[in-house]
Symmetry: C3
Subunit: 278 residues, 3 copies
């Protein structure tokens, strides 16, 4: 999977929004049948999502398109997976709590739709986070996201601006995705009226090892792309560092003083990674 800096949600019950979902240029889109759709509207949402996928695919031939179904523990799941077609890139499965859930969902979809789908697994309960590594390394899982709101609800805690209450859980999801070698989507920023909040939160997410961010508003997409890319200043510094380091190596030195910082192999590789990312 190439780097997915943004995955933009669209509510399944809003056909007019689904049709426009790719316009802000997200790296992936997710048509939502779960939390954004009230119980009474699940059936209508399924119809809207099913109708929306073919034109979205035609207009965006290479865009990763996902549907988020309801949790396998709900009565909606069985009907939701009827939406699976070969136009989809995969399924976003929320509130996954064990590898068994992935197996069951995969079998159910194979049976119904005759397709072996890929999954992005939602880790958004205490148990799901505790089992993050075994879920992330399950067959068919190509990414995970951390769902902070659901996690804190399940934990019985309180969401704060500082976010200490999710630091461990967020770290576990990033670490588990790294061990599995898959994409890691950082938590939603619900406060979509504040770009500053998003940028700050995305910056922390990037430092923790996430590869991108779930977005719930088109305005967040460019912010995510910028947050999960190297800044010009970072690239400039990396280029200077690599040049200085290369010269030192020809003198037999592998630990150098670069602008007051000791630079050796890992820092040189971090700089190279930044250069390679642009």
């Amino acid at each position: 999977m190439t780097s997915l800096r943004s995955a933009l949600f669209g509510p399944g019950s809003r056909p007019e929004l689904l049709a426009k979902l790719a316009r802000s240029g997200p790296d992936a889109i997710i048509l939502d049948l779960e939390d954004a759709v009230p119980p009474d509207s699940k059936e209508n949402a399924r119809l809207a999502v099913t109708a929306a996928i073919p034109p979205l695919r035609t207009l965006n031939p290479t865009l990763p398109i996902y549907v988020r179904v309801n949790s396998i523990t709900t009565s909606w799941f069985t009907d939701d997976i009827q939406c699976v077609t070969e136009h989809l890139s995969g399924i976003v499965l929320p509130k996954v709590e064990s590898p068994e859930t992935i197996c069951l969902a995969r079998s159910a979809i194979e049976e119904r739709a005759g397709i072996l789908v890929n999954f992005i697994a939602g880790l958004e309960t205490v148990l799901g986070v505790v089992n993050a590594t075994s879920i992330a390394t399950s067959n068919g899982v190509i990414g995970c996201y951390f769902g902070a709101e659901d996690y804190v609800l399940d934990l019985g805690g309180i969401r704060t601006r500082e976010g200490l209450e999710v630091l461990w859980a967020r770290t576990q999801v990033a670490v588990s995705c790294r061990l599995a070698g898959i994409a890691a989507f950082d938590q939603v920023v619900t406060d979509f009226s504040s770009p500053e909040t998003f940028v700050q939160d995305a910056s922390i997410g990037r430092s923790l090892g996430f590869s991108g961010k779930l977005c719930i508003h088109p305005s967040q997409v460019p912010l995510a792309h910028s947050a999960f890319s190297a800044t010009p200043a970072e690239v400039d510094r990396a280029l200077r560092l690599i040049e200085t380091y290369a010269k030192a190596r020809t003198r037999g030195e592998g630990a150098i003083n670069f602008e007051g910082q000791m630079v050796d192999e890992p820092l040189a590789r971090q700089a190279q990674r930044i250069i390679d990312s642009v």
Copy 2:
């Protein structure tokens, strides 16, 4: 167990304090034979605790009353458990490091007192925190507390005002209690002369998922009750949110703009939880 926002300690060696222990209205009281009692006074403390329990029970028929015994690894434990009577709600067992400790303590008490007691387990060593989930899910454990001072002593670290040194351990205890579905008591605030410190620390504890706080002074009890309850502003906001969300659902919308924030199912449930708690 109903919500226990405060559990107030009284030193076993101070009979005059034990008698007054329920006056500040704590959700539970703990008569301490362990850290608050010096070695030379253990025997006197046992007598004082044994004498204090019946009148406390008579005056407070429904109050959870616990005795904290010394660790099962000490020579005092065997005598301490003679204090167990049917008037007690259970035993607080400090420095638990494995589920085996719970089994052994339970058997010993059943043998001596003929009663199967419930335990609140103290997780306050590195090993105890590492084994938190298996301890919290042991038979008979109805709550755990995190003991920051003992934990940091065992770790060989230093206690700081910021508390980064206990963030992981504190998180593990809250998470393990959530997995077990039991009460989670947050760390003591030793600085009882500063209400601000207590309120700030309790606020973090609540955000991390703790259900209440250990108190070492009667003045901390009302602070704990306030800290582990929803504020009027939180309740007001929750009521507005639920009303707006309910209206939107009748229009088939499940993700709405509420005062600049995207609100969907998990946030609506968090709001409902706040309303239900008052």
Copy 3:
């Protein structure tokens, strides 16, 4: 192992620096064949390190002297371990990811050099940190260090001044070393031009339970010794506390009001530990 507050690295490819490595009075020195030595210079570095060890040992008969070899997964490892002699205190093995690595390295060195060496294991990848406890408790491991730069590179994250991206990993390393009862070396501070940065970072490391710090510049050695020792103010307070606590115990009290703080057994022991450390 007595307390090692500092372990100073010297680049294997800089013989003039190796010769002076003990001058700043570090508690241990590490002659580096790994990250501080570029690939083309590995062979020369081995010769320089081999030549440097005997005079360093003669001049500093009791100083712990270590060589950091290249990772067992590299082609350099087999040649590196030829540097092992009875003059060495042990080997620093970087990027250890499992107990198996320790076994393999130990066998390889025993076969080549006929010596059973002790190891300081570098935990500096995601997998290494996840397996920290099993590595730290492996036979022959007498210490571990946390390598923040390599860890974050492996994680795919970004190093920040605040360091939230390493808090969990750093905590795991300290906790694992405590469970194993071995030395724990905190992360390098690469910014050697800023004593403030070092002091601040070392203070956090000490609070998290580390026993000392890796140093990459002689100027960091006295800073580490100071940071990992009790301050005069800490010692003064500890002496006052112990005196007050002892008096209270003769009155049968085990939980006292000491300068506005409730002090009982764990806090008294923390104070005693501070007094014992000077």
